[in-house]
């Protein structure tokens, strides 16, 4: 591995564990892969949350809103050559069968299929900061027509 970069084998092994934890809807397992002071942000909340306990709640929020949610991995994660960081493509597939609290939206039964990427910054083999990038406007479009007619 290049000086300062992230090891590809470590990253691929870590990513397998990360997505297995998410796909088991296991917030504790996700939090265990993060540092105590982890920072997490993404379009759904529109703000940053910090700490392992907040991560447990964050996973729970998605699992409640989307009880069949699954993250698929279209290609291997990308390790930075210059810092302890990665970019990780994913595809989210789920049905909105529960209340998704950030939007205060009752279940619509809408299908959401969304491509995005994560940025992961590592410290001591754990994610210290995570930032999700995806088009939240597309999620709202998927849910809104049914919300309007409800």
């Amino acid at each position: 591995m290049t000086a300062g970069g992230l090891d590809q084998d470590f990253l691929e092994d870590f990513a397998d564990r990360w997505w297995a934890a998410w796909n088991s809807h296991d917030g504790e397992a996700v939090a265990a892969l993060c540092t105590e002071d982890v920072r997490n942000d993404g379009p759904a909340l529109g703000r940053e949350i910090t700490g392992r306990e907040a991560m447990v709640g964050y996973v729970g929020m998605f699992a409640q809103g989307f009880p069949d949610m699954r993250f698929l991995v279209p290609e291997p994660p990308y390790a930075s050559l210059t810092q302890a960081k990665a970019i990780v493509p994913w595809r989210f597939e789920a049905t909105h069968d529960g209340e998704f609290t950030p939007m205060g939206l009752a279940p619509t039964g809408a299908r959401v299929e969304m491509d995005g990427v994560d940025h992961w910054w590592f410290r001591d083999g754990l994610v210290a900061r995570r930032s999700m990038v995806y088009d939240f406007a597309q999620v709202m479009r998927a849910l809104a027509p049914r919300a309007d007619s409800a």
């Binding site: 590809q8 379009p43 529109g46 290609e75 291997p76 990308y78 390790a79 930075s80 050559l81 210059t82 810092q83 960081k85 970019i87 493509p89 491509d115 995005g116 990427v117 940025h119 990038v133 995806y134 088009d135 939240f136 406007a137 597309q138 709202m140 479009r141 809104a144 027509p145």
Partner: protein
């Protein structure tokens, strides 16, 4: 370079790409994509096809955001398994002209958004381009509501 993308090639290509966008040089941008390019970003309803469509879109974006500027927070990432790169960017621009695809009139607001590009290459040019960013955030930044 196996079946992956050469990092040196990508490191050289990316600055040329962003320089072309930041100079609003639609011709230079079009010359860096294949004839049969497929292009998508969340501001569009559907894929754009072909070099001419890329030229027209770049020119339109240039007049909609005449001071628009892409900066890169870090180096681009070359795939180890395919002729592809993922490229983080940050965009800031004043919405001083109409943004035709969405029918937005100029708002004068400053649009600021972070995203990543996915670039698939063939013969040294981008043959498929997909940008990922939060269009809802982009619209909020200029004070516009997201069209349903």
């Amino acid at each position: 370079m196996g079946s992956g993308l050469d990092q040196g090639f990508l490191d050289a290509f990316a600055p040329r790409w962003w320089a072309a966008w930041n100079c609003r040089d639609a011709e230079a941008i079009a010359s860096m994509v294949t004839d049969d390019l497929v292009y998508y970003n969340p501001a569009l309803d559907e894929d754009l096809h072909g070099r001419e469509a890329m030229f027209d879109y770049a020119a339109m974006l240039g007049q909609a955001f005449p001071d628009g500027r892409f900066t890169t927070p870090e180096e681009p990432y070359a795939s180890l398994t395919q002729a592809k790169g993922i490229v983080p960017w940050h965009f800031v621009g004043t919405h001083a002209g109409d943004f035709v695809p969405m029918g937005f009139k100029a708002t004068g607001g400053v649009l600021e958004v972070d995203g990543v590009d996915h670039w698939w290459f063939r013969d040294g040019r981008i043959c498929r381009h997909r940008a990922t960013f939060d269009f809802a955030q982009a619209m909020r930044s200029i004070g516009a509501t997201t069209p349903a």
